[in-house]
Every structure is written in structure tokens, then in C-alpha cells.
Amino acid sequence: MSQPTDADQAPRAATADAELSRVGWQCRRGMLELDLLLSQFLTTGFARLDAAGRADFLRLLGYPDQIIHSWLMGREPPADAELRRLVTQIWAATAKHPGDAA
């Protein structure tokens, strides 16, 4: 089997970029709080997710804004374990420490 060439790589890279942009656009929501948390997670945490984790993230993005808001603000947890784990990962990836607040 031959090694992939640059020509092979380019379209794949372009596809990956487009896919990330597609997910990024799904992170554009009607509420500022969600914009901030989801876009930051996309930058700092999304790349570390495995395929199942990414599928969970896409599933989370499919929920209405108010539901995601109540999960991410900690008012109520998602019903299923995968999304509960994902919410924790979003918090960890976007966590602020006292002192670097602003």
C-alpha cells in the first residue's frame, strides 16, 4: 500500500476543516452564554474527544437552547450518562480560575 501523498492529504485536510467549521456554526446559538461556552470548548476541548465523544457533542448541539443552557449552567443534569459526562468535560475545558476572571 502506498503512502498518502500531499495531493491525497489536501482534500482530507480541507474536509476536516469544513467539518470543524460545520460544528462551529452549530455552536452559534441564540444565547450569549452558550456561544461563549460552546465556542471555547470547540477550541480547547473538542479535539480531545474520541469519535463517540464527538457524536455526543453533536447530539448535545441538537437540543434546544434553553435545555442546553440549564445543563451548562448547572441547574439540572442531562438525563443520560454520556451527556452528563460531556457537560463535565465542557466545564473542565472552559473552566476559569479565580483571578483570571476578566
Binding site: 467549521s21 456554526w25 452559534r28 441564540g30 444565547m31 450569549l32 448547572g74 441547574r75 476559569k96 479565580p98
Partner: protein, 587 residues
């Protein structure tokens, strides 16, 4: 290759409450309706509106649409058009019942009637006791309305173009609006949507300011489209700010925090409101508190490494008070700042919230602009409703509960008038290649190659510029310097470049197009603010601290061509009742 074309009876740009309420009325009457939205419709900013909708239903206390009208005129600092305000307050009642019948799950009183809550600025009997007028669906009224309207539109077979970005309006040689050029974000392909009538319902432009409560999508797209199509923007200097937003992020820290005993401190630990408002202190009016905060920062007494914010102190209140009476603030601080407000102060700065100005319309939501026969000539085929429009019911200052009402009443009015317009104009007007030329040119703007600055840096500078030069601290020198800086920034945009020229899901291209829009609405805001030499409602100037009805009880109109300012009178005559003459606005 020619750009593909599709034909509909009506094109609606934006899928928030205004756009969807108009769409529902039209699609229910069997018109073919296209709704273009850059995000999935239920992710429109209407979803963030928590408070409710004002309507004088009198479910809790006696009420009357005329009292609601008085409060709205007074709240507008007498800049609102009284014919439109009367219309809105009267129509509020059937509009809310219509939503109830469409399935909006309003909260209920014990007797089964729609729940109503008390909001600031609302009175009984023309300035008497507090009214209870705001209809609510728990704390998610916007969400409930948006989802109901979306579902009803699916039932009525409205055609949704999800994740399409509207580039520009198309007007024919007679100036009639005949549709728009849009871009499918997924493929990067352009599409012409021809329509007999076009409604702009694209929301606000809070993203022009660095610190804002608005979602990322609020980039003034429809307003800028109107400007580029030769329509002026009206009363853009009137932008509502809240004093306490989370610094650098924008989320609102409710005034309830100061009501519970919280207070502001500067970088030296001083309770600085003692120097600005010795009696009211931290509970002085919003504009006084906001300007005091900015003065502290401007004079070098800010907090943090950049000294660019002040602190809101709640830790002296104790965990019991903070956590139980202010749970929303506790959540925001924990998630976004990693701190417990019962233990540490919150970094805050004034945050931009709501645009009173926008595309000028009459009470039928028809866009009106100065032309040969007067200042309010109808632009045929073009409508606007919601935050992007200025009808003008909010005048210089909006009351809580009147923004959802505005989008619903005037979305509905737009639908009603478009039905009539399409009945009288049953055929699509011919679309010539020449009509498309200007909009196609804009489409190619960001395909320039070669070296150039990136979009993100210019956008960050724009937002900082607007905050520094047209935020809560306004005087002639500050704003005149801002205009010059913004002109220079506008030149930078001309030379900026996109690195990624790919087509598929190139969101960098969308962000570049949004930057164009933000620059246009930013200039409209700054120019209008610079030229209005008085303080009225949300427009507060330190060099002209008083309202001046003799010279300035008039609407501003900014045109993009030559950055021109023009003015037109306020419509002080209501439809069926006596005018409310201007008085000092005292609460």
C-alpha cells in the same frame, strides 16, 4: 455560470419572533413564503428573552391599553411615535390571545387566566400605582414563543432556508424591492430569491460593542442591507446599556444584586459611587452608574491587569443571601469566572443590550424613507419588523416587556399588510441583470487574494472602538475622535483579506460579511450620536446633559452615502386619543 433563481410570494430575512409571526400569517393564507436564517430558526436571539410580553389584559389588577400607551410614550422620553405606540398597545391584547391559541404555554393564574407579572416603568391610571401587565411563560417566554411559532410555520408549510446568509437586497430600476441575494453556508453557492414582498426581520447589532448581552449572531445584517440599498437608519444613537455586565464577557448581573446591598469598588478599593451619587449611591439610575464606572476606568482607577473594569462586591452579604436570593448570578460567576460571589467580588463593566433605532417603518411595517414627496415615502415591496426596525415605539428608551411585544405586533402587522400588497401586486416584477450587478459585486468582495490583514483583528478593534467612543460616556471630543478612527478602520476593511477561499462551510467568509455589516451599523450609531446635542433616554451626553425638546424632539436619519445626517419630525398625534405632551421623565 448564472446564479440560480427561485421565486416566492414573500421573502423573510430572519427567523426570530417578528419573522416567524409574519411568516405564519402569510403561509396560513396560502402564500408561498421563504424564510432565510443564518442559523437554525429556533436558535434566533428571541430565545434569550426571559421577561415577557406587555399587554393590558387586566388579569391581576385593573388595566387599560391607554395606560400602557402612556407608560410607553413616557418611557420613550417622548421620542416614540404616538400613532405606532397606540397601535401597539391596542393590538397587544389580540396578539397575546392569538399566541395563546397558537399554543404558547403561558404560565397560569389560579383562575386559569394568563399569568402576568409586574415590571418597572408600568403604571395604572397614567402614572399611578404599579401595573401588572407582563404576560410570561415562566422565565422562558421567548423560548416558548419561538418554538411555538416555528412549529406552527412547519404546519403551514413555510419554506425554511436554514443556514443561508442574506447578502443584499435587490431593488429594480423603479426602486421596488424584488428579493435578495443569499448564500448557502454549506456549499458557498449563491442563490437569488425573487419575491413580490421582502421583510427584514434580522434582529439587533449588539456585537458592534465589545461588551454585550447579545449572542454572536446579532451583527446588524438587515440594517446594513437596508443602508446599502439606499435606505437610511433611524435613531441609531439610542442604544440601551446595562451598568453591570460581566467584564470582558457581557452577561447581565441583574440590578437585584445592588438592590440586595451589593456595591461597586474601584482598583483602589474605594466605594466610588459615593463621589457621583452621594444619596442614591449604587442604586442611582442606570446611566449615572454606568458613566461613573467608565469614568473610574478612564481615569486609571480600574481593576485588573488592564485596569479595564471595576468590581461588584457582594461578599459582605453572606452566602445565605447571595446563593438563595441571587441564584442566577451565582451560576454565572461559578461557570464563567470560577468564583463564588459570596466570597469574591465580580469584575463588571457596562454591557450593550438593545437597539431602539433601526430601519424606519410606519405602523404597517412598511419601510419608509425620505424621497421627493416627503420624509416618509414608502419603499415599495420592502418591510421591516423587530429589533432591526424602528417604527418607532421605543423612542429613546425601551421599557421591559415591550421588545417581545414589538416583534410580535409588528411581525403580525407586516404579515397583514403584505397579504394586501401581494393581492394588489400579484406578479413578480422582472429581474434584470443590471439589478443584480451591485449585489453580485459585494459577493465577490471577499474573494480578493494577496496579502492583507485578517478579519478577527479588525473586528476586535471595531468593538473596542465603539465601546470607547460611543458607549455610555459620550461627549463631542470622544465621539468626533471615534468617527475619524472608524473611517480609518473602514479603510482597513477594504484591504483585509480572507486566507481561506474554500467554498464548503467557509464560516470565515460569513464572519467577513458580518464585519462589513457591523462597520456600517457602527458608523450609523456613531454619526447619529455625535450629531444629537442633547441627553434623552439612553443617549446620555456629558456636554449636553439636558433634554432639548425645542431643537431635538425629532428623529435622526443616517444615510451611508456620504455619511449624511437628516432629520424628520416625531409623530405626536395618536390614532384616536389625545397626544401625551412632553414632560420631565420622573419616576
Amino acid at each position: 455560470m448564472p446564479i440560480p433563481r427561485r421565486k416566492f410570494d414573500t421573502l423573510i430575512v430572519g427567523a426570530g419572533g417578528a419573522g416567524l409571526n409574519a411568516a405564519l400569517r402569510l403561509a396560513s393564507a396560502e402564500l408561498r413564503v421563504a424564510v432565510v436564517s443564518k442559523v437554525f430558526p429556533t436558535r434566533s436571539h428571541t430565545v434569550a428573552a426571559q421577561g415577557g410580553v406587555n399587554a393590558a389584559l387586566a388579569n391581576v389588577l385593573p388595566d387599560d391599553w391607554h395606560w400602557h400607551m402612556f407608560d410607553t410614550v413616557k418611557g420613550s422620553d417622548y421620542l416614540g411615535d404616538q400613532d405606532a405606540i397606540e397601535y401597539m398597545c391596542r393590538e397587544a391584547i389580540p396578539t397575546v390571545y392569538e399566541l395563546e391559541h397558537a399554543g404558547v404555554p403561558f404560565s397560569r393564574l389560579d383562575d386559569g387566566k394568563i399569568y402576568q407579572r409586574a415590571f418597572g416603568g408600568q403604571s395604572q391610571r397614567f402614572g399611578g400605582e404599579q401595573a401588572v401587565r407582563t404576560c410570561a411563560a415562566a422565565d422562558r417566554t421567548g423560548h416558548a414563543i419561538l418554538h411555538t411559532l416555528y412549529q406552527q410555520n412547519l404546519r403551514a408549510r413555510t419554506h425554511f432556508f436554514d443556514e443561508y446568509f442574506a447578502i443584499d437586497l435587490i431593488r429594480d430600476e423603479d426602486g421596488v424591492a424584488i428579493g435578495a441575494l443569499v448564500l448557502e453556508i454549506e456549499t458557498g453557492e449563491a442563490l437569488v430569491i425573487e419575491a413580490k414582498a421582502t421583510l427584514l426581520a434580522s434582529g439587533g447589532h449588539g456585537q458592534v460593542f465589545r461588551t454585550t448581552t447579545n449572542a454572536f449572531i446579532n451583527t446588524g445584517d438587515g440594517m446594513a442591507m437596508a443602508l446599502r440599498a439606499g435606505v437610511p437608519l433611524m435613531d441609531m444613537e439610542f442604544y440601551q446599556f446595562h451598568p453591570t455586565g460581566v467584564a470582558g464577557k457581557g452577561m447581565l448581573i441583574t440590578e437585584g444584586a445592588r438592590g440586595e446591598g451589593g456595591y461597586l469598588i474601584n482598583g483602589d478599593g474605594e466605594r466610588f459611587m459615593e463621589g457621583y451619587a452621594p444619596r442614591a449611591l449604587d442604586l442611582a439610575s442606570r446611566d449615572v452608574v454606568a458613566r461613573s464606572m467608565v469614568t473610574e476606568v478612564r481615569e486609571g482607577r480600574g481593576c485588573g491587569p488592564e485596569k479595564d473594569h471595576v468590581m461588584l462586591k457582594l461578599d459582605h452579604l453572606g452566602a445565605e443571601v447571595v446563593h438563595h436570593r441571587l441564584p442566577g448570578i451565582t451560576d454565572i460567576c461559578r461557570v464563567f469566572l470560577g468564583l463564588d460571589p459570596a466570597e469574591r467580588p465580580i469584575p463588571v463593566f457596562p454591557t450593550a443590550h438593545y437597539a431602539m433605532g433601526g430601519i424606519p417603518t410606519d405602523r404597517y411595517a412598511r419601510v419608509v424613507a425620505p424621497a421627493r414627496h416627503g420624509p416618509e415615502e414608502v419603499v415599495p415591496g420592502l418591510y421591516a419588523a423587530g429589533e432591526c426596525a424602528c417604527v418607532s415605539v421605543h423612542g429613546a428608551n425601551r421599557l421591559g416587556g415591550n421588545s417581545l411585544l414589538d416583534i410580535l405586533v409588528f411581525g403580525r402587522a407586516a404579515g397583514t399588510d403584505i397579504l394586501e400588497y401581494v393581492r394588489n401586486n400579484p406578479n413578480h416584477r422582472p429581474l434584470r441583470d443590471e439589478d443584480l450587478e451591485p449585489v453580485v459585486t459585494r459577493l465577490g468582495r471577499w474573494e480578493r487574494t494577496g496579502a492583507g490583514e485578517g478579519v478577527a483583528a479588525v473586528k476586535a478593534d471595531l468593538r473596542k472602538l465603539m465601546e470607547d467612543h460611543c458607549g455610555v460616556f459620550r461627549d463631542d471630543a470622544t465621539m468626533a475622535a471615534g468617527v475619524e478612527k472608524l473611517k480609518a478602520l473602514r479603510e482597513r476593511v477594504e484591504h483585509a483579506r480572507l486566507k481561506d477561499q474554500s467554498k464548503t462551510f467557509n464560516t470565515a467568509r460569513i464572519e467577513a460579511l458580518e464585519l462589513d455589516n457591523l462597520v456600517d451599523v457602527g458608523m450609523a450609531t456613531l454619526m447619529s450620536a455625535l450629531h444629537r446635542q442633547e441627553s434623552r433616554g439612553a443617549h446620555s451626553r456629558v456636554d449636553y446633559p439636558e433634554r432639548d425638546d425645542e431643537l431635538w424632539m425629532k428623529h435622526s436619519l443616517y444615510s451611508r452615502d456620504g455619511d449624511r445626517m437628516d432629520y424628520k419630525p416625531v409623530r405626536t398625534k395618536p390614532l384616536s386619543v389625545e397626544s401625551f405632551p412632553p414632560k420631565a421623565r420622573v419616576y
